[in-house]
Symmetry: C2
Subunit: 534 residues, 2 copies
C-alpha cells in the first residue's frame, strides 16, 4: 500500500530534483504533485490504462524526452564503475520519486542491481506479483562512428539512413511524429524499458488508475558484459525475487514492425577446434600431396557434421528437443510471414533445409561456424601447407537440449572421425603417436527457455499486451538470440515472458543506436497496461 | 679458342681489379697470370678435374671467400634497378677476366641477363654445347631478423642453430672445416652457383685442364621475382641459346645431405575461390540454422575435392599423368629413404595415402589448400554467420598435366556441386538468382618438366657428376618445387638437368641464409668436372 503521506513526500522530492531540468518539466511535476488528490477519484467510467497512457504521452512528450535525455547522458559501460553506479543511482531515485521502494542490491565486483517494489493498490492486486527485468548498461561505443555524441540524446526527423535531420524536442502537447527517432547509446537497448516504466507509472497516476499487481523491479547493470553476476544476485536475494512471472523487457519488436511477446530464447554453447598438420609451415611444392593439410582435414571434419540440406549429422543432435506445444503451433499463426522479405534483404536465393520456415528452424538446435582460419588467402597467400586449421563453432540450443551433452556428442563425433582429442597444443610425442589430433576447447553455455503459453499468468500477460498492442500483437514462441533466462527458471523457478518495446532497426550494439518515437510511446502504453488495474 | 694474348690481357685486368681486395688474392692472381704458360703443358698423367678442383679449393679457400664476399656485398633484389645491374656487371667482368666472352643481354623492364660463351679447348669438345643457367637476384630481406648484415658475408664455425660462432676467413691453404658456414643473402640461392663457375674455371686453368664442351652462360636477374621476362629473352636471342642441354644450377642437394642431380620439376597453377552467404554478417542466434553458412559450404566443397586417403576426387584429375619411365624406376633406387626421418622432424604420425613413398607422391598432381579464411576464431570470434569464405588453392602438376585443363576440371567440379561461377563480387541480382555462388579466380601457371634420363647427353652429365660426387650421387626424377623450366623445353627445345650445389638446410628465402663450406667446395669440384675435358 502506498500512503498519501508517502506520495506527497515523493512529490516534494520530485519537484526539487526536477528543478535542475528547467523548462518542460513543470507539466510532469504538476501531474505528480496532484496525484495525492486523484488516487481516490478512481471511476469505472474513466479511460483504461492504454488510452490513458497514450493521452499522457501526447500531453507530456517534451518532458518525457527531457527526463530520458538526462538518463541517456550518463555513460553506461558495465566496467566503468563510477558511471555505471551513477546510472543505478539515477534510476533508483527516479523510481523512488514515483513511489517505488527502490534500493541498490550489491554483490562484490558487479554493478549494483536497481531493485524496487511497488505494491498493488487495486482490489485483489496483491494476488499477483510481477517481476520486471531490464538492464541499464550498454555496449561500448566507438565514438568516431557516431553522427553525434552518444551521450547527447538528439532527435531526428526520421532514421539517419532515410535522411533524418536533427530537430528540437517537441514541447509538451505539441504534435509529434511517431517516425521521429531519438539517437543515443542505449536509447533502445535497454534504457527504453526503464523510461517506459517511469512514464508508464506517471501515466497511471495521472489517470487515477491503480496499480493492478505487486511489482518487483530487478534492473541489471552488466547484461552487455555477459550477466556474469546475475546468478549470484539471485542466490543472495531469493526472498526479494519471489514473483509469479518475470517480464523481460529487452529486445526488439518483430521484423515486420509489429509488437510482440516472446516466450523463449535459444540456449547457446560452443567449441573451438584446431586440427594439426606438420609442426611448421611446409613448402607446398616440396610436401604438397605428402604432408597432411589441416585446412582440408578441418573441411572434411566440418563436412561430416552437416549435410547439404542443413541437417546436422552428429549422432543424437536432434534428440531431446522438446516437442512443440499445441499453443506454439497456434501462436505461430499470428506471425507475419517474413522469410521472403529477409531473403530479399540479405541477398539469399534460398535458405537452409529447402526454405524451411524461419520459426521451424529456430525451434531446432543449430551448428554454426563463426570462423575458420588456416594460412592466408588472396595476396597474402603463400606456397605453403599451413600447420593448423582452427574453427570457432557455436551451437544454439532448442528447448530440451543440455549444453554439456551437446558439446559431448560433438566431441564424440570428432573422435569417431579418428581424432585424438587434446586440450592444449599437442606435444611432439602426441603428434608422432596420433594420426589425427584435434584440440577441442568447449566454451560455457546455457540452455534454452520456452515458457508454456497456456499458463494462467501468461494468459493474463497476453491479454494486457493485446490491450496495448491490439490485434497486431505477434506471439513469438522463441527468439533466435540467446539470453541467460534459464537463470530465472532454474534459480527462481518462475516462467519468463519477453516484452520487447523498441523498433527492430535500432542499430542495437552499433553506432547511431536509435529509438523510434512511436516505440517509446508503445513502451509507455504497454507498461501502463501491464502495471495498471484496468 | 682462347688465345694466349687474350688470357694475358685478362690476367692483367684481373690483377688490377683484385688489388682492391688486398691480402689473400695474390695466389689466385698468380695462378691466372701463369695460365698462359700451363695451358699447353697438359699431360695425360695429370690429375683429373675433380681432384684438381679439390686441391685448388684447399689452396685458395681464402681468396675464393674474399672474391665471393665482394659479390655478396651487392644487394640483389630484382626490383632494385641500380644494384641488380651492379651485380650483373660484376659477374660479367668476373667471367670476362676468366676468358668467357661475357656481355649483358637486355629486354625492356627486366634486369639484364649475364650472357657468356666459353668455347671448348679440348679435342672434340666443340661437339657438345652445354647451357649453364643460374640466377643472381635474391629474395627481399627483413633486416632485423638477420644475425648480421645480409650484405657482409660472415663465416661461422657451424650453423647458428648449432651454436656457430663468427670467425675470420681462413688464409689460402690454411686448414678449413667443411661444416663452417658462410652467412649472407643469396649465398646459397643462387650466387653459390655463380661462384662455383668462377672458381671452377680457375681450378681447371690452374691444373691445365682444357674446357671439354662449349659453354653458354645464361644468368638471370629476376628469378625470385617470377622470371617474368625469361621467355622474352629466349624469344629475342634464340641463336645465342642454341645448346644441347641446359644445366640448371639452382636448389639444394638432397635432404639426406647427399649430392644429387634432378631431372624434373612439378608444374604449378591454382585458383582463388570465394563462396557467399548473406550480403552482410548475420547474428548467429537470430539466423543460425536458417541462413546458409559459407564456411560450412566451402568445407563441403573442399571435402568433395579430396577423400580422406589423400586422393583428389575431381573428375579427370589423374588423367594425362605421363607414365613413369623405367629409368626413373631405376633412379628411384639411388634415393636414400627419408620419409621416416621427415615425418619425425615434422611431427607427423602418418602422411597422405597411407604413408605412400614421398617420390611416388611427387609424381602425381596435388591439390593443396594454401589458406582458408572466414569470419574469425579464438578471442576474435563473434556470434555471427560470416558473409563469405575464401580459399587459395595451389595445384602442383605432374608431367603430362596441362595447367589450363587442371583449372578447367576443378572449375567444372565446382559447377557440378551446384555453384554458379562469377569472376567478380556477385551482384544482388546474381545472389537472388543462384542458390550457390562461387567466385573463382584462376591464377597463371606452367607445366611440369621431366627430362628423359636415358638421353645420351644426360648420361654424359650423370657420368661427370658421379666423377665429382662419387657413388653417393642421388638421381632424383623430380623435385617437389616448381620452376619455369618448361620454357627451356618449349621455347628452346632442349632438355634440362638441375644441378644443385648447396646444403639443404640453407635458410633459402629466409633470414640467416647460409652456405656450408663443404657445399661450396662441392660446387667448385662439380663445375670443374662438368666443364673440364677430363
Amino acid at each position: 500500500m502506498i500512503s498519501t503521506r508517502r506520495i506527497t513526500m515523493e512529490a516534494t522530492r520530485f519537484r526539487v530534483t526536477f528543478e535542475r531540468m528547467g523548462i518542460g518539466v513543470v507539466a510532469i511535476a504538476a501531474t505528480i504533485i496532484g496525484l495525492g488528490g486523484v488516487v481516490d477519484a478512481f471511476s469505472q467510467t474513466a479511460p483504461k490504462a492504454p488510452d490513458a497512457a497514450k493521452s499522457f504521452f501526447a500531453a507530456n512528450v517534451g518532458s518525457i524526452l527531457e527526463e530520458y535525455a538526462e538518463l541517456l547522458a550518463i555513460p553506461n559501460r558495465a566496467s566503468d564503475d563510477k558511471n555505471i553506479r551513477r546510472n543505478a543511482e539515477w534510476i533508483r531515485d527516479a523510481l523512488d520519486r514515483r513511489g517505488v521502494r527502490a534500493e541498490l542490491l550489491e554483490v562484490a565486483g558487479a554493478p549494483p542491481i536497481v531493485y524496487g517494489v511497488l505494491e498493488a493498490t487495486s482490489p485483489g492486486g496483491h494476488d499477483r506479483t510481477i517481476g520486471v527485468y531490464a538492464h541499464y548498461d550498454g555496449q561500448p561505443v566507438v565514438l568516431e562512428k557516431w553522427k553525434q555524441s552518444p551521450w547527447e540524446a538528439t532527435l531526428y526527423t526520421r532514421a539517419l539512413e532515410a535522411g533524418g535531420q536533427p530537430r528540437p524536442f517537441p514541447k509538451d502537447g505539441e504534435p509529434f511524429d511517431r517516425e521521429w527517432r531519438l539517437y543515443a547509446r542505449s536509447v533502445s537497448d535497454d534504457k527504453a524499458s526503464v523510461m517506459s516504466f517511469l512514464a508508464g507509472i506517471d501515466a497511471l497516476r495521472e489517470a487515477g488508475i491503480q496499480i493492478g499487481s505487486n511489482l518487483v523491479f530487478f534492473l541489471e547493470g552488466e547484461e552487455e558484459a555477459g550477466s556474469r553476476h546475475l546468478g549470484d544476485f539471485m542466490d543472495r536475494y531469493p526472498e526479494k525475487l519471489d514473483v509469479d512471472v518475470w517480464l523481460i523487457f529487452d529486445g526488439p519488436t518483430h521484423q515486420s514492425g509489429r509488437p510482440q511477446l516472446v516466450f523463449g530464447v535459444r540456449g547457446v554453447t560452443g567449441l573451438d577446434i584446431t586440427v594439426y598438420g606438420a609442426n611448421r609451415y611446409l613448402h607446398s611444392g616440396h610436401y604438397g600431396n605428402w604432408a597432411p593439410n589441416p585446412a582440408m582435414m578441418m573441411s572434411q571434419l566440418l563436412a561430416s557434421m552437416k549435410d547439404e540440406t542443413g541437417r546436422v549429422t552428429i549422432e543424437g543432435f536432434y534428440d531431446n528437443v522438446a516437442p512443440v506445444e499445441p499453443a506454439v503451433v497456434e501462436a505461430a499463426k499470428t506471425i507475419p510471414p517474413i522469410d521472403d522479405q529477409l531473403r530479399e534483404t540479405f541477398g539469399l536465393a534460398t535458405t537452409e533445409a529447402n526454405n524451411a520456415p524461419y520459426l521451424d528452424r529456430m525451434m531446432l538446435p543449430s551448428l554454426n561456424v563463426r570462423g575458420f582460419e588456416s594460412g592466408a588467402v588472396g595476396a597474402r597467400a603463400r606456397n605453403v601447407i599451413p600447420p593448423t586449421a582452427s574453427v570457432s563453432i557455436d551451437i544454439r540450443l532448442a528447448k530440451g537440449n543440455d549444453p554439456d551433452r551437446m558439446k559431448e556428442i560433438t566431441e564424440a563425433h570428432i573422435v569417431k572421425q579418428g581424432y585424438y582429442i587434446v586440450r592444449d597444443e599437442p606435444t611432439q610425442a602426441e603428434r608422432l603417436a596420433h594420426e589425427r589430433i584435434a584440440r577441442v576447447n568447449p566454451r560455457g553455455g546455457y540452455r534454452a527457455v520456452r515458457t508454456a503459453m497456456d499458463l494462467p499468468v501468461v494468459g493474463w500477460i497476453q491479454e494486457r499486451a493485446r490491450a496495448a498492442a491490439g490485434d497486431e500483437l505477434v506471439l513469438m514462441p522463441t527468439m533466435g538470440g540467446s539470453l541467460p533466462l534459464y537463470l530465472f527458471e532454474e534459480k527462481l523457478g518462475r516462467p519468463v515472458v519477453i516484452v520487447p518495446v523498441v523498433n527492430y532497426d535500432n542499430n542495437q550494439h552499433a553506432p547511431n543506436e536509435n529509438l523510434r518515437l512511436g516505440n517509446l510511446e508503445y513502451g509507455v502504453v504497454l507498461v501502463a497496461s501491464l502495471f495498471g488495474a484496468r
